[in-house]
Structures are given as structure tokens and as C-alpha cells.
């Protein structure tokens, strides 16, 4: 959960309502819950890719994992490790 703060910062700046504190946030389906809209997703993808120097594939972005806050953090952790190697 190395990139939890990055994700939390993005949502605190861009989401329509704040993420819950603590672990509860990890299960949030940020799209279904309306925290961000389609425009927000495009911004989010670009922000995370430039912050970490990684690139999401279309499969990454359409995975179930990508749609929850916890899944997204896990994916960022993995991508950051593989890009570092």
C-alpha cells in the first residue's frame, strides 16, 4: 500500500465527496459511487502515470481491480515495482 497517499491526495483534490478514513476507503467503488466522472478518470489516469512514470494498459484500466480504491493502490504498487526493475 505504498501508493495509498498518492491515491488519497488525488481523491481529496478531485472527488465530489471525500474518501472515508482508514481501511474502509479501500473497498470504495469510486465510479459506481459517483466520486469521479469519466472526465475525472481521464485526469486520474494521466496524473498517476506521470507521477510514477508508468503506463496502464487497456486491460489494466478495464480490470475489476482498477475500479476500487484498494485495487487501484495495489495495481500502482505493482506497476511501480515492475517499472523500477
Amino acid at each position: 500500500m505504498k501508493h495509498e497517499q498518492l491515491v488519497r491526495d488525488f481523491f481529496s483534490q478531485n472527488a465530489k465527496s471525500p474518501l472515508p478514513e482508514g481501511e474502509e476507503a479501500l473497498d470504495v467503488h469510486y465510479l459506481d459511487d459517483g466520486l469521479i466522472d469519466s472526465f475525472g478518470i481521464v485526469t486520474m489516469i494521466a496524473d498517476f502515470e506521470s507521477a510514477l512514470g508508468v503506463a496502464f494498459t487497456a486491460e489494466d484500466m478495464q480490470s475489476y481491480e482498477f475500479q476500487t480504491v484498494g485495487g487501484l493502490i495495489g495495481l500502482l504498487d505493482r506497476l511501480a515495482i515492475s517499472s523500477a526493475n
Binding site: 465510479l31 466522472d37 469519466s38 478518470i41 481521464v42 484500466m61 478495464q62 482498477f66 475500479q67
Partner: protein, 387 residues
Amino acid sequence: MFVPKDVIFLPESTASHPDRWVAMNVFARTSLGLSSGVFRLLGEMASDPEAGGEGPFRCWRIEYFSNEAGLLADPSRFRRNTEDWEELNLNRTELVAELKKHCILVDDEVVYLDRFKPKRHLLDSVHFGNFHQQHGQHMALTRRKDPADWWMRQKFSEDQLSVRPDTLYGAIQSKFLERYAEERISNGMTVVDLGCGTGVYSNLMASRGAAVLGIDPSEEYLAVARANAVQGARFENMKIGEAGALDDVPSASADIVFMSDALLFYFVPFYPGQNADIRILLKDIRRILKPGGSFVSLEPHGAFYLMPWLGAIDRPFVVITEYLRKSFGIVPPLSGLIQQVTQAGFVVTDMREIVPADYFKEIDPRGYYFASEFPLWHLLEFRPFAH
């Protein structure tokens, strides 16, 4: 696990690559290339779940978002050139997964049918959604391009001043309008071009001697239009389809109100929550027209637009999966379009189903022959009904 009735099989064998079929789910618009071993297996599965053994099975990945090349590019979504097919040799488990991925096999009919609902958001890959949603998703996630920019470039030249002749837009719409303008537009007429974009067609009509007022809500397009306006054309920024938006256009001032590729968005919005009311628009058009004036509407064809181009190049056929109630399509059925306008106090005075100019046969024979038999656009001319 079963093959839905929505799947068709098309022969694609060639001398160099015998034994190949395209399996296409015509509702889902997905496809996979198959060898006859897989074809036979699909037929036997229902009665014998173990049929065909463990493989290996030969099939080919052939699917792609073919409309990326343009709204009027081949909408069939499989690679025509069999040299571009990606061969796979799969064991049974892998084969079943690949067949399911392309909707040639499905597990559960209820779950499958639910997939035809609109996408819930940009990342929703479960629901197919309509063409706008599929295109937006493809552009945002796979190509990382702005869909609005693509929308312009697939129709207009780089400088946005002419319609690309190498697409069906040029061969059908633009070529037709050149002839139509000669026939219908004459010196001294007043024309209002609603949704004029960069003014390509406004300029065409002005060059026939008409005084043309081009109206568009996009300042970006209007800047291009103004910089390149021919004599007789002027351009104004106004919203369209909202109450009061066209109040600055005088009543009974126009011989012709022209609109192209615009009314469809009043039936299926380009983006959710789009604020446009066709009744307000039509009331405005009726007010702006002189008595005896015409509302000329050029729109994609409600039956054939975005439907797959199948069959031999010069003897095409089409499989139409929806017409009245569209889950994929973005164009209203003919009656839906015409009734909206007639209910606003107009009568239909002309209709043309428009086919491509001959030169296009050399550029894209498949597109040419298809669009020559199954029109992709129609023009409707309406006049206010005199009470």
C-alpha cells in the same frame, strides 16, 4: 455453455490459408477466426460436452475497433486482410476462454443479455453500450486521444477547410452537396447553416451566391470558419436547441435552414446529460424560415449506418440487428425522425437516399459497393405546413 443464435459464420478460406472461418456475434459486434476443428466443436458441444478432445485448436485473433479509421470506415470490426490475422494454437481451456471473450460462446443467457445495456462509466467493459460510449472508451483508454478531435479529423482535412475525399464523407456527402447546392441554391437566397462547424458547407452555399449565416456553439470551430469565410458567408456563436438561443436570428428571414449530421444527437445524446431539445430547435427553425422556405436535413441513414459490411466486395449484404429500439446505434429510425419534424408543423417535400460518387470505387471498393446499395445518408426536405 452455448453458441448464441446471434453468431454467424462467414467463409474466409484462401488458397494460401485454407480452412478458415469468421465467427461473428452480430449483436455484440465481436468476432474470432476459426479453423474447421473449432467450427465442428461448436456444433457438437451442445450434445456432447467433451466433443473435440483437448486440442490443440487453431483460431485467429481478428477483432479490432475498425471505426477508428473513421465513422464511415468499414464498421465490421474484423481484419479483412487474412495476412493480419494473429494465429493461436490453444488447448481446450484456453480455447473456451477465447470463444467466451468474443461472445461466440456464452455461459448464461441472462448475464449475456444484460451486457447490451448502456455502459455505466468509462471503465465499464462488461456492458457494450452504444457506439458513442464504445468509441469514447476506445479513444480514452486505448488510443489516449481526445474523441472530439478525432471526430473532426476523420471527416475534415488537417486544415479543417474541406471534407476528406478519401473517406465516404467526401464521396457521399460532399459530392452530393456540391450537386445539390447547384440545384437548390441560387443568387440572392438567404441560408442559415445550423451547426456549421468550420463552415465548409456554409462556404459551399455562399459560393453559389447565397447570403449564409453559419451558427455553431464552438468558438474553436468558428475561429477557423471566420478566417476562411468566402464572400457572402458570416458566422455567429449561438447555442442550438435551447430556449432563446437563436433569438438573434430574425423571424421569416431564411429561404433555407440547413443542418447536417446534427439531428441524431437530439435522439441519442453524444454525452450523458446533453442539454438539447429538438422541439425548441424545430420551433426556432419554423420561426426563422420565410413562408415557403425549406428546412433541409442531411443525416446518417437510420437503417444501414454503422451496420457491418458483409459478403463479397462487389455483392455486399448486411445483417441489421436493430432498428426501432437501438442499444448500439446512434441514429433514430426514419419514422422517429420524420414524426418529430412533422409534429412541429412541417411536411416532407423531398427525400434522397445518397450514394457515393464513382471515384470512390478506386479508393475503397468494399465501401463503395456497400454504400451504393445500402445508403449511409439521407436528405430530407421539409416545409412549414401552412395553416
